[in-house]
């Protein structure tokens, strides 16, 4: 039996990700939520995820900073930035911090699922 993949969602307003959490669970993923970048890093140590979906605007450690830290620690971990920020500069920073994907809100959960599938099979 295929092991259940674990997706960590990091957003300071988790309510905004309820739809995605629901969709991921429907698709057979296990999900967990952290409310900022720092807590996301802690969560990864406690319960490593197979992929991380990161918001950008968060207190303590923002999404870009968290992404950089995550990539230092887990080089091959797929990181998807999911944000309402859609300036070219934001995309630039996302690539600079090693994010694998950059998805802007409003986002179609089917698209996110598809992207996860390309990384996780």
């Amino acid at each position: 039996m295929k092991p259940q993949r674990h997706i960590l969602l990091v957003d300071d307003h988790p309510k905004g990700l309820e739809f995605l959490e629901f969709r991921l669970q429907q698709a057979g993923y296990r999900t967990s939520i952290a409310q900022n970048g720092e807590l996301g890093l802690e969560a990864m140590q406690r319960d490593p995820a197979d992929a991380v979906i990161l918001d950008v605007t968060m207190p303590e450690l923002n999404g870009f900073q968290a992404c950089r830290e995550l990539k230092k620690l887990y080089k091959d971990l797929p990181v998807i930035i999911l944000t309402a920020k859609n300036e070219p500069a934001d995309r630039f920073w996302a690539t600079q911090c090693g994010a694998d994907e950059y998805v802007t809100k409003p986002a179609d959960p089917a698209v996110i699922l598809q992207k996860l599938t390309t990384y996780l099979g």
């Binding site: 309820e18 739809f19 969709r23 809100k105």
Partner: protein, 481 residues
Amino acid sequence: MTSLSNLTVIVSATHRRLGISPAEVLQRAGAETRICSPQLDLWATLADRTVDAIVIAVGEDDSVPMAVYAPLYEDPRSKAIPCLLLLPQSVSLNVASVAGFNAVSMLPADCDESTLLRSVADLTAVRRRVTEYETEVRELTECLRNETLRGDGLEKKLGNISHDLRNMLGVAYGFSCNLRDGVVEPGSAAERTHLLRILEAIDGATHLLDSLIGSPSRTDLRAVRRFSSMRPGRVQRTLVQVGRLAREVLSLLQQKANTRDVRLCEDIDESVGVWADALKLKQVVVNLVDNAIKYGSRGGEVIVRVQWSQPTAAVGKGSRRLALISVCDRGPGVPEDLRERVFERGFRGAQEEPSMGQGIGLDLVREIVVQHGGSIKCDAAEGSGAAFHVSIPPDLRERDRQGLLVLRDGETSRLLVNLLGNSDNPHWQAAAPKDDSELAHLVRSCAAAILIPANCETSTSDLLARLGAPETRNVDTGDSR
């Protein structure tokens, strides 16, 4: 002629008298004159006071080379000070050596008094103009800088609004995608959550937009300030046809009703219209109908009635007709002792399955109804089942403060006056009439009145809680302790 009275002129002491004494001439003309030697610390003099002009009378024997003054004109501070050089015929001056001075003028050392005075006056006039320009430029720069900062602030604010809107749309879009892709079981609690989240997100986004577009000027910075102080969930009223709204809700929930074989019935008076927040009112009806489908008996019916209330009195608050929305089901009903408690946040029925809800719906419903100056109650439907009755005054525009709180002297009363005065309570106002005739006048002019005697011992929080329900009237303070 330009006055010289406010001038400070430095006259070099090395100047050997050559026809006129510049210091004496300028002093006679009213200028405050200070004589200093280049060997002395000229800077001390300059730093010490505001110097309007410098007159340098160069010695005939050229004993003071211009180099002595070099520090003076190399310093940026002195460049703004106009300088007049009085030169003896014998001294040939390299113009380049004084190029650093500002507004340099040169006169022969033996010029007459009037020429000297006119030159100094011209120089100081130039100086004043320069100062004025400098001030103007400084003010303009400051102004531009402020505008830019304010512009940046506005841009940042709009950026935040855009960010918030995207987040709200993201929620509505994400949940809609789930419904579109058929991953949510029709009629399930999850479907209801999806619908409610979508409505909430649209509601939030609408308020956000209204807060900007509804302002007098879209470019007005005040609009942004208003936005920043905007409270979430504020009621945005428009004229709502309640019947139409109820039908929309019924059609929205038809599919869910089908899954439980529930028949949705309506009894609608088309003339019922209220001045209300359409989205919030829709949330109220969605919640009530959804609950009725969920908790009513399978295969039963849910009846939604929209009608006007019958006036209960010829005058006063009872004379006003209210919009009534009733939602009845044919389920087991709500036990009498729980009919108030069902509106409490987190309340769940004993038989309720965990999947049936979070116990937040009715609390929210009541909050919205109260925001509209209305009330909600739960009782038994005819026959069997539960009935929820919402009554909303049709129009709060004209008289937002419908109720009158009449206070007699006393500590509690004073506290209440302060609290009501500061709380922006939309339904009640406080007044302390001077005598009985004023009291009678006040009571006649309002929809309902609460009379509080001076010795009232009801707690302030109890009274304020009662004030939240506008239909409360004639509180008997003696019994309400």
